[in-house]
């Protein structure tokens, strides 16, 4: 075994893999944000709360209806996505045409309300949620012990990211969607129901957040503040990737997970700030983000 900067290469490979796993959460969450921003022009600060709702929904379904992880993985995004549709119909559709700040304040306020309600009802210490039986245990890769569940997280989120990217960038529906953001009036003239499409897109973005929430439930503490802890980092990821860029969100999500993972080895004290340092540097050099275009 050889050393890299005084760290055994074994440990380093392990940390790279861990970074990739954390990156897959960042990617999933920032993907939802990017879809919503790209298509609706709304900076969705409720995203963290919706991620938390996903984790709690999984817990509640298990606790009260006896539905397991796999069932939750399908049902929860639909449920929470539906709640997102409600939010879009009730509030967001009215602020979409205004300045970004209105949407930002509205969604930020909503996030605080949702988090407050959950805290009031469940307290803040959180609820237990087990790793599903089929994914218990793990494999010894030689350089690290990889829990099966983490392997599943990385694989599944990669698939979800690619499918979403493909749907938006390469399909007919995706092209309608992109056209609708460029020029809604013209697209409507072709007989396409743009408001409904926008509503469904918001629901889809929220569903992605909820999906990440379900996936997070077995490994992170399921607590009302889990969303607000991660959302700021995810916003940094989206800014670095370029607001609204789908591919940017995915690539930077994984990339920053790795950078954060390496920081945890070389200088752990800085691991909670390194992403913001990267953000500051990227904004100085490329204000539109790595994959963004200046409009």
């Amino acid at each position: 075994m050889f050393d890299i900067f005084g760290i055994p290469s074994q440990a380093l490979f392990g940390q790279l893999l861990i970074g990739l796993i954390n990156g897959s959460f960042y990617a999933l969450l920032s993907l939802g944000l990017a879809v919503i921003f790209g298509m609706l022009n709304v900076i969705n600060f409720t995203h963290g709360a919706q991620y938390m709702m996903g984790a709690f929904a999984a817990y509640l379904l298990l606790q009260y209806l006896g539905l397991n992880y796999w069932e939750a993985l399908v049902i929860v995004p639909l449920l929470v996505g539906a709640s997102g549709i409600l939010v879009e119909r009730l509030f967001l559709q009215y602020v979409r045409k205004l300045d970004h700040v209105y949407g930002l304040i509205l969604t930020f306020g909503l996030a605080l309300v949702i988090e407050g309600l959950f805290r009031n009802y469940f307290g803040s210490s959180g609820e237990p949620y087990q790793v599903p039986d089929a994914l218990q245990g793990g494999h010894n890769l030689g350089f690290m012990f990889l829990p099966n569940y983490r392997a599943w997280v990385i694989g599944f989120s990669l698939v979800v990211c690619l499918v979403t990217w493909f749907a938006i960038e390469r399909t007919r529906f995706g092209s309608y969607l992109r056209a609708a953001t460029e020029n809604p009036t013209l697209v409507r003239a072709f007989g396409i129901n743009v408001p409904r499409m926008v509503t469904l897109t918001y629901g889809f973005g929220v569903g992605l957040a909820a999906l990440a929430g379900v996936m997070a439930a077995p490994i992170y503490n399921v607590s009302p503040q889990m969303g607000s802890e991660v959302i700021i980092v995810v916003f940094a990821v989206v800014v670095i990737g370029g607001m609204g860029s789908i591919l940017g969100a995915i690539v930077t999500g994984f990339g920053l997970g790795i950078i954060e993972g390496l920081t945890k080895v070389f200088f752990p004290e800085a691991s909670s700030t390194v992403i913001f340092v990267v953000m500051a540097i990227v904004l100085l050099i490329r204000p539109a983000g790595l994959f963004g275009r200046l409009g």
Partner: protein, 404 residues
């Protein structure tokens, strides 16, 4: 005419006594705590409920006192905590601040309290420096401290064979103090510390740090963190096969709400030192029932119990002095009268501000052993009051040295 005059005098005299009775001694208590983040379940709203119970049980009207209660969220930020404390002391006429989890915030509030000559009763924060180099004549450290945790949990683990340690430490005053105190105990008992990693407060993912701990090959992974950080460490540790690989966690600061959040499946077997457990005796159970009226479905932590006990003792001292105005005098009075309540039993407050009571070594039960909700601990050993806390001779507290 004379009769009328004396009648008027008598009336006036009567009115002043009535007026005196109507002007009870005002006392204002502030619960400064974490209402919304990783420590909120162990402190927070449950601490406010505990303070309310203490005021109720003290019965201010019977002592011709009027006690008001305010509370605020310091968000785990020392600057926020200090500005609330100043606002309370300067503008809102608060006489005493209680609880304050997070040692960084507590150390800052302790300075402000001394400057304003008020009273600060620490239940939430852990750093033993509060009664060590940073002790003040206005601060009392009530429930527990890092020395107690290190000696209770640390010593018992080293004695049962856990000789090599690796620390995962919260990167601020509390974590550093806890690691320092535990390291001293481990080394004094023939153990060895192989390494440590400082982790930012409120981290979500501990897997990197767990891998580093795994690579160290230490028998014991000491968790010098608390609340949500401890929960995430243990939950993810189980996933990475830490315990299956023969390493063990030492949760140096674990509270019952954390155990509930982890579930017994993940938490079973943890060793933990606390001066209070809700299911200790009839007195603690009866109190818990009353507390649960305000906090349904939850179980009180030692910190919340400590807020009750400290507030009650404070009110007794104010009643004896008939004034809450001079903070130093109230603290001196609190040190004079012995402590006694159903939650911590009999004890006393030492010259350095340390409250002395027994501590208990518990082990978390397995799911099979737990018979009813909250039935989480087995009592393994009782640490007598005179051994539970750091002897004053090792304090380096200027108060004690000055009195020598």
């Amino acid at each position: 005419m004379r009769a009328a005059a004396s009648l008027a005098f008598a009336l006036a005299a009567l009115m002043t006594t009535v007026a005196h009775a109507q002007n009870p001694i005002p006392v204002k208590i502030g619960v400064l705590t974490d209402m919304s983040s990783l420590y909120a379940a162990d402190t927070g709203p449950g601490s406010v409920s505990a303070a309310e119970l203490a005021i109720h049980d003290f019965d201010p009207a019977a002592h011709n006192m009027k006690v008001d209660l305010v509370s605020a969220d310091h968000q785990n930020k020392p600057d926020v905590g200090v500005s609330i404390a100043r606002q309370w002391y300067d503008v809102d006429h608060v006489d005493m601040i209680v609880d304050v989890p997070n040692s960084a915030v507590a150390l800052a509030v302790s300075d402000v309290t001394r400057e304003k000559n008020k009273v600060f009763l620490v239940s939430g924060a852990a750093s033993s420096d509060l009664t060590g180099p940073k002790c003040t004549p206005n601060t009392i450290h009530w429930t527990y401290d890092t020395w107690m945790l290190a000696h209770g949990t640390g010593r018992s683990i080293v004695k049962t064979g856990g000789k090599t340690w690796f620390f995962i430490t919260a990167d601020y005053a509390f974590g550093h103090a806890l690691e320092r105190d535990t390291t001293a105990v481990v080394e004094a008992n023939g153990g060895k510390v192989l390494g440590h990693v400082f982790v930012p407060l409120n981290t979500q993912d501990f897997s990197s740090f767990l891998l580093q701990a795994q690579a160290s090959k230490a028998q014991i992974i000491g968790l010098a963190n608390a609340g949500g950080d401890t929960i995430n460490s243990i939950k993810q540790g189980a996933e990475f096969g830490i315990t299956k690989g023969g390493q063990h966690f030492a949760g140096l600061l674990v509270f019952i709400p954390d155990v509930q959040a982890l579930g017994l499946q993940a938490a079973q077997g943890l060793i933990d030192t606390e001066p209070f457990y809700w299911d200790m005796n009839a007195g603690t159970r009866a109190w818990t029932k009353r507390w649960q009226v305000k906090q349904p479905g939850k179980f009180p932590s030692e910190i919340q119990a400590g807020v009750y006990s400290a507030t009650l003792h404070y009110l007794k001292a104010v009643a004896a002095l008939k004034s809450a105005a001079d903070g130093k005098a109230v603290v001196a009075e609190m040190k004079k009268i012995p402590t006694d309540d159903p939650l911590f039993g009999k004890g006393y407050v030492r010259a350095d501000g340390r409250t002395i009571h027994p501590a208990y070594l518990f082990q978390v039960k397995s799911p099979a052993e737990s018979k009813y909700p909250g039935d989480d601990y087995i009592l393994k050993a009782t640490i007598p009051a005179n051994e539970a806390f750091r002897p004053m001779s090792q304090d380096n507290c200027p108060l004690v040295n000055a009195s020598k």
